[in-house]
Amino acid sequence: MKKNRYFGRFAVFVLCLVFAVAFLLPTVLTITNSFMTEAEINSNYGTVFNSSKSNSYQSEKVNLKFIPDKVTGSQYINGLVRSPEYLIKFWNSVFLTLPIVLFQVAIASLAAYGFTRWRGKIRALIFFFYVILMLMPYQVTLVPNYLVSKWMHIFDTRWAIVLPGTFAPFSVFLLTKFMRRIPYSLIEAAKIEGAGEWYIFTRICLPQCRAALYSIVILVFIDYWNMVEQPLILLNDPEKQPLSVFLSTINQGEIGLAFAMATVYMIPSLLLFLHGEEYLVEGIAHQGSVKG
């Protein structure tokens, strides 16, 4: 009986190890491959990406390798210093994502306070509508976004993506769920002391939600850092595309460079993840059910 139990736990442990390897491998490989020389990349993956230069060696079979033969940072230097187009695309991503994160969280904290502090039929109805809107896939919301961007003459500019992102209801939903957990007695007490709404909002509600705000920032950042659908439709100019789209159009002779830039693109979200994992987990966990 006891032996059986130990065996069960051992089996679970092994299974977890297998899953862990499967989850980590693609990421780790991307990072290690970014330190290979272009020649090594070519000889390993030449057959996949057809970047055959007639006289260089290519192995018949592809060769998925962990450890570079020779560790080099040359791909990074190529990508970041010699050909600035990647750097430009990287900054495009930054200038698209950061405003969305800042504006969306700012607008959402106001709205969440509104939904928390006052209840009523109309507000419940609006909130319900927000939830429905949140559940709509891009295939639905992109058509309205496209129309608005044409009307406002912001099509093919950053604002065509930033403005709809600013008013996306996801943060409102999540932050309202957090704010409703603040004990009402706190607000009540402040009111009796004669505090105004703005004071209660900035001095009581927001400080209570600091952890929640951080977790929402991470979630929204990851979502928009990864965007593909919106720029494809709302930005025509290839120069304005974020790196998330541009990476896939990379020239075939530059696979090594692509690995390096893919790694660079991971770094901001990787850092956020490592620093704020606990917040991220709490943020995800509190979405709980859509009903609450």
């Binding site: 442990f13 996949v48 709205a111 927000y130 058509v143 600013t166 909002f201 952890a211 893919a262 994992e277």
Partner: protein
């Protein structure tokens, strides 16, 4: 590991009378104005960027194309539904969702249950399982290429066992390949949702079941699954929406002209955007919206049945 102190208190609602003291209309109006100071920016933005244009979308879907549009009834919808490309895109997307969504619900439950066992390195495993969510799709797409290409690793590996090479993304198995990529990205997120669902089950209940001699299977299906049912509902809806986003992986792997087997709804929408076919775009958006609403309503009803006695 840092501990985060989230203030977990019972939901505190403002008392009903507080917001509208008695039936005093003036006070009520004052409350409304105050709440609108906070809700205003968000509501205004939603109206401008989503509501108004969506009304125009409905208008477009009901009129004919051309310089002098006239009322077309449901003609646009009929012609969309008869359109071959739309049928292919919708069919592929539905097929994919039908496979991927159930897996994206079941596998994370398994992962969450595994991490409930007393094993070493638990928190590390959680981090590892969650890690794909921070990796942009564009970053790992190169590795997927290397693995699933005709000359790729998977074929090389399988050829050791005498399996013939195939071009995975062009084969009948292409939707399964996409499913693997989808699951890789989404399992961790859903697992966290289930872990918090499992943590919310009252311990006493499970202990009583254990003392009374209930088998692990019984306590899993009769207790855990019941308490998890709101989470299952949420994960199902979330995965459904995410399954529409798998276009990203497909697009980044295969570009504008994907093999037929993985031609998704978003590809179709992109083509319609390129040809500026407002009628098709609008009717497609409306059909997808209606589909989602109906589906969500059904899921809510099912969950209501199943998890009735554990809530509230």
């Amino acid at each position: 590991m840092k501990r985060v102190n989230f203030k977990l208190h019972k939901q505190a609602k403002p008392p009903r009378g507080e917001t509208s003291r008695g039936s005093n209309a003036a006070a009520r109006r004052k409350d409304f104005l105050r709440s609108m100071c906070f809700l205003g920016p968000s509501v205004l933005g939603v109206i401008v960027f989503f509501v108004v244009p969506f009304i125009v979308v409905i208008y477009y879907s009901l009129v004919t194309n051309g310089t002098s549009p006239s009322f077309a009834g449901l003609d646009n919808f009929v012609s969309l539904l008869k359109n071959g490309a739309f049928q292919l895109a919708a069919g592929n997307t539905l097929k994919f969702s039908a496979v991927a969504v159930p897996l994206a619900v079941i596998l994370p439950i398994v992962l969450a249950l595994m991490l409930e066992a007393r094993i070493p390195l638990k928190s590390q495993f959680r981090t590892f399982f969650l890690s794909p969510i921070m990796v942009p799709v564009a970053s790992v797409v190169l590795i997927w290429q290397v693995i699933f290409n005709y000359n790729g690793t998977l074929n090389a590996f399988l050829s050791n066992f005498g399996v013939d090479k195939i071009d995975w993304l062009k084969s009948d198995l292409s939707l399964w390949v996409v499913t693997v990529l989808f699951l890789w990205k989404n399992l961790g997120y859903n697992m966290i949702l289930f872990m918090s669902g499992l943590a919310n089950i009252p311990r006493e209940l499970l202990e009583v079941a254990d003392v009374e001699g209930a088998s692990p299977w019984y306590s899993f299906f009769a207790i855990k699954m019941r308490y998890l049912s709101p989470t299952i509902l949420f994960v199902a809806i979330l995965s459904m929406i995410n399954s529409f986003k798998v276009f990203r992986e497909v697009y980044l792997l295969t570009g504008d002209h994907p093999p037929e087997g993985v031609y998704m709804l978003q590809h179709y929408m992109n083509n319609m955007f390129n040809s500026m076919d407002y009628q098709k775009l609008s009717s497609a958006a409306i059909i997808i919206a209606l589909f989602m609403i109906v589906l969500i309503a059904i899921l809510f009803k099912v969950e209501d049945r199943f998890g009735k006695d554990v809530e509230g």
